[in-house]
Symmetry: C2
Subunit: 104 residues, 2 copies
């Protein structure tokens, strides 16, 4: 673990001091991501309060996290199954080749 860095970011027009182990560049990237999500919600529903926009932003991000986690699990399962297919296709091929060479 590196040292804790302090980074000032702007989210929803307000400045926030962030503390974390991530690089300053990455913390800005995350802040910009949140800010864009807030702007999208605010554009669709211009009468909402800042706190309501922030709640909806968190809700939308949590929805993305849940769906991405499910997608990641499916892909990991797929990778695992394909690894098994690759190892199985490699093994019987060797056995079959030997059978053919010995004429059995």
């Amino acid at each position: 673990m590196g040292e804790i860095r302090k980074t000032m970011v702007k989210i929803g027009g307000r400045d926030y001091m962030m503390r974390g182990f991530e690089s300053e560049e990455y913390i800005h990237k995350v802040a910009i991501f949140v800010d864009k999500k807030m702007a999208e919600i605010s554009k669709c529903q211009p009468n909402l309060s800042t706190s309501m926009i922030m709640v909806l932003t968190a809700i939308n991000l949590a929805d993305e996290v849940i769906k991405l986690k499910a997608q990641t699990e499916t892909l990991e399962q797929q990778v695992s199954e394909m690894k098994s297919v690759i190892s199985k296709t490699a093994a019987p091929t060797l056995v079959d080749s030997r059978k053919m060479r010995t004429g059995k």
Copy 2:
């Protein structure tokens, strides 16, 4: 697309009316997820205001989204490469078997 559903959820001790196409069960799942994240942050930093906790919750969720997206991309790339390996191992095996059968 189905009809827009209204669901009342509790996040950070406050009630919010959510509107969306997702099932009521799923909206509750997402709200509980956000609520738990807020509680974790609040436990670690008990002196923060509700709005600051909400900003940090959004920041943490955005961090998860960015990392999960990168993980998904890596896994998709892996699946694509493995598909290519499977199709390549299947094809030469057929050719080799034919060669062996004809004695060439």
